[in-house]
């Protein structure tokens, strides 16, 4: 069985981005970029399924600038088998990403597609669900546990009220939540080995997908600033302030 894992290159989660003064976007010049953390979890899950003998090939895909190749290499160094880079400059929206992925699924026929639940740059949380709809596949989003049993996939999901378990008739889509696993670091020998693993380079045109954005960015602004308040000396003073100054008790 084959697993497809789409991975996105995003601003590293430790970076606090700055809005550009002309309000056209955020400043990404000289900012550290990494694999989206939820995608790392997706890659790790695929590798564990392979190590457990439930999968035999892991293909990673990234849609983005040429540098997204580094993100694919990272996944290959973790243990994925080969990569597909679909080069595209600028903003590629989840709908366009899902359309390209749907074409790749047609070509590759994976049994499972594991994505992150959310890319931490745009915080869209859509791509996996959209892919599910385009393929008419069932989905298990926000997964904290995934079990494969023949053609069935049982997914435990992190939902607002607690946990939910659902059963999917494969092929299926899974999107990862934080508690699914803890991604490994690539070892040096594996990083070396990954350099020899194949990466195919494609374009959206190869798949016949129009990636023009549907959402026009009018402006990007700073959120309202919160001023730091005061330090209180004691718990008694805190309670007094909350009662008599802030009026929230």
């Amino acid at each position: 069985m084959k697993i497809l894992v789409p991975v996105k290159r995003v601003v590293d989660y430790n970076v606090k981005v700055r809005v550009k003064p002309d309000q056209s976007g955020v400043d990404l010049a000289n900012v550290k970029m990494s694999m989206n953390p939820f995608c790392e979890i997706a890659v790790e899950e695929a590798i564990r399924l392979k190590e457990a003998g439930k999968a035999d090939e892991i293909v990673v895909v990234s849609i983005g600038p040429q540098q997204a190749q580094e993100t694919i290499r990272t996944a290959l160094a973790m243990g994925a088998d080969r990569g597909i880079l679909v080069t595209a400059e600028g903003r590629v929206e989840p709908l366009a990403v899902a359309k390209i992925l749907a074409k790749i699924v047609e070509e590759e026929s994976p049994d499972l597609v594991v994505l992150g639940k959310q890319a931490i740059d745009d915080d869209a949380n859509q791509t996996g669900q959209m892919l599910g709809a385009l393929l008419d596949w069932p989905q298990g989003t926000f997964a904290s546990k995934v079990e494969l049993d023949g053609g069935n996939v049982t997914v435990t999901r992190e939902i607002d009220g607690g946990l939910q378990t659902i059963k999917l008739d494969g092929p299926a889509i899974v999107t990862t939540d934080l508690r699914l696993n803890e991604p490994r670091y690539a070892s040096l020998p594996n990083i070396m080995k990954a350099k020899r693993k194949p990466i195919d380079t494609k374009t959206p045109e190869d798949y016949g997908v129009d990636i023009s954005p549907r959402l026009e960015v009018v402006k990007v602004t700073e959120p309202p600033k919160r001023e730091a308040g005061i330090k209180v000396e004691s718990v008694a003073q805190l309670v007094d302030k909350l009662k008599n100054e802030a009026g929230v008790l």
């Binding site: 601003v11 955020v26 939820f38 709908l95 959310q118 931490i120 740059d121 915080d123 869209a124 949380n125 859509q126 996996g128 669900q129 959209m130 599910g132 709809a133 069932p138 989905q139 298990g140 926000f142 999901r157 992190e158 939902i159 607002d160 009220g161 607690g162 946990l163 939910q164 378990t165 659902i166 059963k167 008739d169 299926a172 939540d177 934080l178 508690r179 954005p213 549907r214 959402l215 026009e216 960015v217 009018v218 402006k219 990007v220 602004t221 700073e222 959120p223 730091a228 308040g229 005061i230 330090k231 209180v232 004691s234 718990v235 805190l238 309670v239 909350l242 009662k243 929230v248 008790l249």
Partner: protein, 313 residues
């Protein structure tokens, strides 16, 4: 212009996130219809009819809608989509699950987690963990939108709309509900509570959360947590506040033993008053706190409990 809002409920009562979505719909303009999909949820349908500004309630009743899957809910919404210019749902784990399927089938780019409506086609949403706000204009004919519950008023009960039955597509579907483990608590729900007290890695263990529980019980507060506290197994996943957890904006948020990573701030920095209790005076949480107390939480929490008792709580 007609807007469809998908209600969220537990087959018994409508949640506040739905009320916020109805308010967002009213800012788009036009008639508002609400879809209540469930099993035996006619009480919810009636309640939806009473929401301010709602012109009609569509009620779909089916066994498989007791625990609707993304597939079945999306199929139902799509069967109704023709009549609507915009489709809205709360940006809860349910809304986030099925709405992108609706959008993709309609060939529409979903606008996730909006915090403001500028006009019928222009919306504001946070990106990069709320470190930037993006205003986007949708060029799609239909708008598919999820609504952040904390930034819109909750619609009141001044309406009197009629309820109409609609059929739900019966499938077959490739996903099925197996089971659910829902948190049971007498305390208010995290996203609806007026006061939230959250613990982080500094709490050191799940047992120590009883220090927060005691205070929460006194203040009728909800208890939340940082990701680190959830990952460490101190508390269940539904406690997580943040960029990738729940977004809260209570009157009072008390962060205890939480450092204040951007991912945590993303979920609570719109709270009216923020209190931080942390032993490290350099902790970033203090940069957003109205009242900061530099103290060991194991000393401060029992004291807080006592002071509250003295103050009549």
């Amino acid at each position: 212009m007609t807007v469809l809002v998908i209600a969220e409920h537990d087959n018994k009562s409508l949640n506040d996130a739905t009320r916020a979505a109805v308010t967002a719909a009213s800012k788009i303009g036009g008639d508002i219809h609400v879809l209540v999909a469930g099993k035996g949820a006619s009480g919810v349908a009636e309640a939806a009819g009473k929401l301010d500004g709602v012109a009609k309630v569509l009620h779909a009743d089916a066994d498989h809608l007791e625990h609707p899957m993304a597939e079945s809910l999306a199929a139902l919404v799509l069967s109704l989509a023709d009549g609507y210019d915009a489709i809205l749902s709360p940006a809860t784990t349910t809304g986030k699950n099925f709405m992108p399927r609706v959008a993709a089938k309609l060939d529409v780019m979903q606008i996730s987690d909006i915090t403001a409506v500028e006009s019928a086609d222009t919306f504001v949403r946070p990106i990069y963990a709320g470190n930037a706000m993006m205003t986007v204009k949708s060029t799609d004919a239909k708008k598919v939108i999820t609504v952040r519950g904390t930034t819109f008023e909750k619609a009141g009960d001044g309406g009197s709309a009629s309820v109409e039955s609609v059929d739900a597509p019966a499938g077959p579907f490739k996903s099925a509900f197996v089971s659910e483990e829902l948190a049971k608590s007498d305390r208010p729900e995290l996203t609806a509570a007026k006061i939230v007290i959250s613990g982080g890695r500094g709490m050191a263990s799940g047992d120590n959360f009883h220090l927060l529980d005691k205070i929460a019980d006194k203040l009728n507060a909800a208890v939340g947590a940082s990701r680190a506290a959830v990952d460490a197994g101190f508390v269940p996943n539904d406690y997580q506040v943040g960029q990738t957890g729940k977004v809260v904006a209570p009157e009072l948020y008390i962060a205890v033993g939480i450092s204040g990573a951007i991912q945590h701030l993303a979920g609570m920095k719109d709270s009216k008053v923020i209190v931080a209790i942390n032993k490290d005076e350099e902790a970033p949480i203090f940069s957003v706190a109205d009242y900061g107390l530099v103290a060991d939480l194991f000393k401060a929490l029992p004291e807080l409990d006592e002071e509250l008792a003295k103050a009549g709580y």
